[in-house]
Structures are given as C-alpha cells and as structure tokens.
C-alpha cells in the first residue's frame, strides 16, 4: 500500500488523462501533481482548455470515452485510514467512494439534479445507498442537511422539485446532497460561476462555514482569481494540461512566479491601477493571442508563444522549478519575476 503523510487527504501524482481519437491524442491532463491537506481548500485555476475540469473528473473517475487515465496515481486516504489509488481502483470499489468519501458539485445544479424527483427523494436516495438506514431516518437526515445549508422552510422544501427553486437555492440543495454522507473531500467544479455575485458570496460563505464545522477538504475548480483569493489555502494554476505554478494563496498573490499567472492578474481590470487620478483610462495589459488547442501545442513551453519573457531556452519544456518556499513555477525565467 502506498505511503501518504498523515495530513494529506488526496495526492494527485503525475496524473495523465488523454483523449484518443484515431491517431490523434489530446493530452488534456499531462503530468499534474498536487496535494490536498485535511480541512483545507486547494483551488485549481485555469482558462478554458486548461484541463482543470478533466482533472476533477479523473479523480472522481467520471471520464467519458475516449477519455482515460493513462498514467499517474491518485492517492486518497479513506475514512478507515487505508490509502487507495483511485486511478487503479476497480469500478465497483469506486462506487463506494463516490458520494460517500468524495462528493462533487457542478456549475449548473439544474443539470446535475434529477428534474423528476423531489430534493428530499434525491438526498434520501444518496443516504440509503451508502448507509443502512430507514426511510424515516433518511428523511430526517435530508431535512437536517437542508437546514445545514441554510435553506429556509426545510420541511416544505424537501418535497419540492428542482425547477421550483432559484439558482442559488438549487446550488444549496446540490451541496446538501453532496454532503449528506459526510464526505472527507468535496470537489467543487465552478460552483458559483452561474450565480450572481450576491448569491456567489452566500455560497462561498456557506462553504467556508461548512469546512470549519465539518473539517472537510475542498478541491475548488475555478477560472475566477477573485474567488480563489477568497476561498483557497493553496493554489494550482493550470495551462494547456499542465500545472504552471503552485503556491499558497498568499505567496501566489504576493508574487507570481510564472508569467501566465502574472498576466492573468494584470488583465483583470482594476480601476485603482488602470485609471489615472484624473479618471482617464489607461490601456489594459492583455496576454496576447489565445489559449492554444490541446491538439496543437507548441514544442517546449506551451505558454512561450504568448510570453513576453520568451528566450531560446523556452524551446525545451521546464519541469516545475522551486521558485520560493513551497512555491513552484514551470518557467525557466522565474527568477526574473
């Protein structure tokens, strides 16, 4: 059995997930590694095509064909302290992990909730699937879960269908469903992206409170660096299937050691920085070009064609280099940053 330090709940190690079609291979996740510590939140940030969602689906083993894990380990410490490699776990054993040990919430709760069943039925199904409890007990649990996620009039809401709820309420119901079996790890894939900012603030507050109360770990997938700053302890920045920078949230926002991360932060408009005291607008500093297709990645560093620091060295791809205490960067020139 593999070793895992006691405070680590999940260790993704050199994960490779490929999609193969004929002779074309999309290396959507190409050697991704990170740890999630007990009771902490790791944010995986990236733009479209970065591989952040495929990473989370790989952990849950929810990939659809032709996607498959072709290499690497996904070590997970189960509630009974056994360390399992989810990348190689048989599907039957995996079914005992999903929902019970690791739960997942998605961007659009409407598509992940079953429209034909009431919220109560869906939570009860989840509880009864994993635990030998009576219907009455399952219903009590479901009601407690709705109360936990601060859904008012929980008793009545149990008998409502997803379409009867607002977007924010549905995301709460989704979280209630995910947490019903007390998972140790919650994977949240863009859970607030479809929500308005005032509702997003409510959901982030809720996740922080639940984490403090229950002590679960969270893997938070997002493209929004503002949300990362609010929720994460550690940050993993992905670009074109690879991790390009990894650091604690404070270290990352203090000093970005990869030009991509630096560029991402620089191009979020900030009136204090980007407008003169007279109110005149200064030009933003966008990253030129667009995210490359995963099927046609440049040789060497994938970010090189868009990078202002590029040198001939960048024709070979750097590994993750130490750029500071607990700070890694996949950039030859991280010292100049």
């Amino acid at each position: 059995m593999s070793e895992l330090p006691a405070d680590i709940v999940l260790r993704v190690d050199d994960l490779r997930t490929h999609f193969e079609a004929g002779d074309r291979v999309a290396k959507s996740v190409d050697g991704v590694s990170f740890d999630v510590r007990r009771g902490e939140t790791v944010a995986v940030v990236g733009e479209s095509g970065s591989g952040k969602s495929v990473t989370s689906l790989s952990i849950m083993r929810l990939l659809s064909a032709p996607g498959r894990i072709v290499g690497g380990d996904i070590l997970y410490r189960a509630s009974d302290d056994r360390v399992l490699d989810l990348a190689k776990l048989p599907e039957k054993a995996m079914r005992g992990i999903r929902g019970r040990e690791i739960a997942m919430i998605f961007q659009e709760p409407m598509t992940s909730l079953n429209p034909l069943y009431t919220i109560g039925d869906q939570i009860m199904e989840m509880v009864q699937l994993h635990e030998p409890v009576s219907r009455a007990e399952a219903r009590r649990r479901a009601k407690r879960m709705l109360e936990l996620v601060e859904i008012p009039a929980a008793d009545r809401r149990l008998d409502e269908y997803p379409h009867q709820m607002s977007g924010g309420m549905r995301q709460r119901a989704m979280i209630a469903l995910a947490l019903a079996c007390n998972p140790k790890l919650l994977i949240a894939d863009e859970p607030t992206t479809a929500l308005d900012v005032t509702i997003q603030a409510q959901i982030l507050d809720l996740l922080r409170r639940l984490q403090a109360e229950i002590g679960m770990s969270i893997l938070f997938i997002t493209h929004n660096l503002g949300v990362v700053a609010e929720i994460a302890h550690d940050v993993v920045v992905m670009y074109a299937g690879r991790v390009v920078e990894k650091a604690s949230v404070d270290a990352l926002f203090d000093n970005q050691k990869h030009p991509y991360t630096r560029g991402l932060l620089a191009c979020i408009p900030n009136a204090t920085r980007d407008r003169a005291p007279t109110g005149e607008r200064m030009r933003l500093n966008p990253i030129p070009g667009s995210v490359p297709s995963i099927l046609a990645l440049p040789a060497g560093c994938s970010f090189a064609p868009r990078c202002s620091l590029v040198t001939s060295e960048c024709e070979s791809n750097p590994s993750l280099l130490v750029a500071g205490p607990d700070h890694l960067s996949r950039c030859w020139r991280h010292e100049t940053l």
């Binding site: 479209s48 924010g168 603030a201 982030l204 660096l225 994460a232 191009c267 900030n270 009136a271």
Partner: protein
C-alpha cells in the same frame, strides 16, 4: 452640461410581458441619460431587467411605455419605416459570440449584410470596407471568406463588433460583450472597445454584471434591481461612496483578487423576488438590511446626493447607511 450633450434620454421606460400567470414587470419606469461620447454601464443581477432595458432602448423589444429621446427624436413615435433610418445609427453587440453569428455565412457576408441593408457600398468598395473593418478590430482581412467556427471566442466577438461598426453607428448597446470570454481575452476586447470608442467618438450603453469591468470602463453607472433603477451617477462617485444599500451589497459581494484585502461584506439574505409579484414600495426592501415599515408603503423617489449622483432610497441619509457605504 447642456442638453445638447445628451445623445439618448431614456424616460420612464417600461416593459411588461403579459403571461398566463400574470404580468412580468421586467422593466418598470427606468430613466437615465447617456451623454455623447461616454460609456454608461447598466449593472444588475439576473432578473434585474438590464438586458430587456438595453434592447428596449433600440426597440429590438417594443417598450410598453416611456420615451426614448435619441438626438431630439422620440424613437417610439417613429414608424417601422422611419425607424430603419435610425437603425443605422443604433447598433448592438451581443454576449454570446457563438449564437449571435450565423454559422452558415462567411465573415464577409456577416459584415456585408449590414452594409447591403443600408446600401452603403457595393463591389470593390464593399470588399475594401469589409477588409478595413476586419483589420480595425484586429483580425486578418484575408480571413474574410472564413466561417465563424474557424475563429476563437475572442475573435468571434471581434467579428460581432466589426458587424456593428459596419454601418458607422453613433450609439452601441453592448450586452455583456466580454462575459463569455476567457479572462486573458477579455482584456484584449476591452482595449479594442476603448480604442474604437475613442477613434469613432462612439457613445455606448454597456450592460454587464462584472463590477470591476464597469468601474474601469464606464463613465457613469446605472444600478438596476427588479426592473427599477436603484442608484445612478458618475462611476467614480458611485464606487467611492455607494449610497443605496443594494449598490453597497453588490459592490461588497464582488470578489477581489487579493487574499489580504480587508473588507466589510454585506451578505444579502435570500434571492431576488419574482418580477411577476414585486414587493410593494421599494422593491429591494425584502432583502435590505436597513428596511423599515415605511419602505413597504412608498416607492422611493430619486434624491440627488452628489453631482449627478442620484439614489432611490428613503433611508439614504441615515448615518448607518452612509457609514456602511464608506466602509466598503
């Protein structure tokens, strides 16, 4: 500022959609001015009516009531025929660069359609004009014969902008033009919008939910909630001293990309009510931390709280409300 400087004056704009279950009051008595050469941001959450209001100003949706004074003429009094002349001066850029371009048309025809409709150029002149527009928005003119699917999201949004510019409009409604784009591409399109605004002297109504984009880009801001305007004024004044409890909550909820940013967060309870059955009096009172009994009785009128800064809240002068706005 004289009234000549106002290109568009929206007054009491109202759009009610009758449904089988009652009337949806999507936009309910919205008024604001857009000065020539400025960008006005229309912000609000989903269900606030900002998109409906934006489309109503171009009569893409026919308003139920109100006046739309554009350059001295009330657009609502014009016949369809007369309106066609004005359509050339009023354009729109949509949010989704995927669904707003016809997948079966080549880029030259997407842009050319607007030129043909208004009979602006033919033959070589038309081709030259399309090439010029493409390079103006940062695309390769040689790509005019390509189809939309051959472009990335950011490039498609540039095509949408080129199409709007093709008829040399004076006023553009941009409905969330960067929301569907990746962050790194958003900044490129925002720079383009600014360049074009300056070089063509465009006037814009910029509809958005991203408050940092609006603060950066817009000269003035109109904050909507449930079909009504809560607060409006110069963006610097509104972002520095928001006076309406809703604006305060909205600004405080926007995540800041800085883990050390200290801030007072106003977390609103509950969700936006149904526009079919909006609360009496002030529509925001059901979620407002400062609501009192009187808020249910009267629809608050606009009070001026600074140069051109107006707020619709009966408690805006309360020290508690003012101090919350200053702590953000």
């Amino acid at each position: 500022m004289s009234s000549n400087d106002i290109l568009l004056q929206v007054e009491g704009l109202t759009k009610h959609f009758p449904t089988n279950n009652g009337v949806v009051k999507a936009v309910d008595g919205v008024s604001f001015d857009v000065k020539r050469g400025t960008i006005v941001g229309l912000v609000g959450e989903s269900g606030s009516g900002k998109t409906t209001a934006g489309r109503c100003t171009l009569r893409l949706i026919e308003p139920s009531a109100g006046r739309l004074m554009f350059d001295g003429v009330d657009l609502r009094t014009l016949s369809e025929r007369e309106m066609r002349v004005y359509r050339r001066r009023l354009q729109i850029v949509f949010q989704d660069p995927y669904s707003s371009l016809n997948p079966r048309l080549r880029v030259e025809d997407i842009i050319g359609e607007a030129i043909d409709t208004h009979g602006l150029a033919k033959g070589t002149a038309r081709r030259d004009r399309i090439a010029e527009l493409l390079s103006r928005v940062g695309l390769n003119p040689d790509h005019a014969r390509r189809f939309p699917h051959e472009f990335s999201g950011g490039q498609r949004q540039r095509i949408g902008i080129a199409r709007a510019l093709a008829v040399e409009p004076e006023f553009i409604v941009a409905d969330e033009p960067v929301s569907a784009l990746d962050v790194s591409v958003q900044a490129q399109v925002l720079n383009l919008i600014q360049d074009l605004q300056q070089s063509f002297g465009l006037t814009m109504l910029f509809i958005a939910h991203d408050l940092s984009v609006v603060e950066y880009l817009c000269d003035e801001v109109v904050v909507m909630y449930l079909g009504r305007v809560m607060e409006k004024g110069p963006s610097r004044s509104i972002y520095a001293k928001p006076r309406h409890p809703y604006t305060q909550a909205l600004l405080s909820a926007a995540p800041i990309p800085d883990p050390k940013a200290s801030r007072q967060r106003v977390v609103l309870k509950g969700d936006i009510p149904s526009p079919m059955n909006p609360p009496s009096g002030c529509v925001f009172r059901t979620r407002c931390p400062f609501a009192i009994a009187e808020c249910a009785q009267v629809v608050p009128a606009f009070d001026t709280v600074g140069p051109e800064h107006q707020v619709a809240c009966i408690r805006h002068g309360d020290p508690e409300v003012i101090s919350q706005g200053q702590q953000l």
